[in-house]
């Protein structure tokens, strides 16, 4: 399941859905990304996420499909929020279910690394000094490149 939404998400509901309908599931690895109150510069007051709606779903699905080809996973959920968020708000959830834990760990980290570098989302922070677009990080490109070596 892939969803892009302004509303918050209920992690417990997602995990219950992943485990309760399939007794083959032995492991669920999940990642939640949150708005931090401090970034490179001053204290963040809001974070606004823009995206490219027609492309986002397709890009996320392509990433999940790659993960399913690479690892023996059972199901994958990606939920990404857009719009204006506050510190400690949830931004993104990636949850992967599998029979054994290593596939779920690898696939979850893979999906996050690709999402960070391939999915069309852009963050704009506001703080007391004004608004600025968040810069992409070289460390995210390096994290993604690990999977192709």
């Amino acid at each position: 399941m892939i969803r892009v939404q302004t509303d918050d998400f209920d992690m417990a509901q997602v995990l219950d859905d992943l485990r309760k309908h399939n007794p083959k599931v032995g492991a669920i690895v999940s990642f939640v990304g949150l708005v931090r109150d401090i970034n490179d510069s001053a204290e963040v007051t809001t974070l606004t996420l823009e995206h490219y709606p027609e492309m986002t779903q397709k890009a996320l699905q392509a990433i999940v499909d790659q993960a399913k080809q690479r690892w023996d996973i059972i199901d994958a959920v990606v939920i990404h929020r857009v719009g204006t968020l506050l510190p400690t708000d949830q931004i993104v959830l990636v949850a992967i279910s599998s029979a054994h834990r290593q596939a779920a760990f690898s696939a979850c980290e893979f999906v996050m690394d690709y999402l960070k570098t391939q999915a069309p989302f852009w963050k704009k922070e506001t703080n007391s000094q004004g608004a600025r677009w968040v810069e992409a990080k070289a460390s995210d490109d390096e994290a993604q490149a690990r999977w192709t070596q």
């Binding site: 490219y52 990404h80 999915a119 069309p120 852009w122 963050k123 968040v134």
Partner: protein, 95 residues
């Protein structure tokens, strides 16, 4: 005959802009008529950069501008066709 050739040789694409690029050009979408030799992202960037200072600055290569064709992330040598949707945006920062 001449006017028929002219119609065939003009390609129309839709161009979208996102994030700081959208803010710089001050709109998010336009339909663009292109000469037929403009068919790669590189050529389109070069062609757009002739529009003026804002455009020249955007596509000068000082900042990375990523592109998508029909919702697929592509590199700058990728080619598009009449009717395609091309998008320009900064490196993504989701997650």
């Amino acid at each position: 005959m001449n006017s028929f050739q002219l119609e065939v040789n003009i390609m129309q694409i839709k161009v979208l802009y996102f994030a700081r690029i959208k803010e710089a050009v001050n709109y998010s979408s336009e339909d663009v008529d292109l000469p037929e030799d403009i068919e790669t992202i590189t050529a389109l960037k070069h062609w757009l950069s002739k529009r003026g200072e804002v455009w020249a600055n955007l596509f000068s290569g000082k900042l990375v501008v990523r592109a998508a064709i029909n919702h697929n992330l592509v590199d700058d040598l990728a080619t598009f066709e009449d009717g395609d949707e091309v998008a320009f945006f900064p490196p993504v920062t989701g997650g």
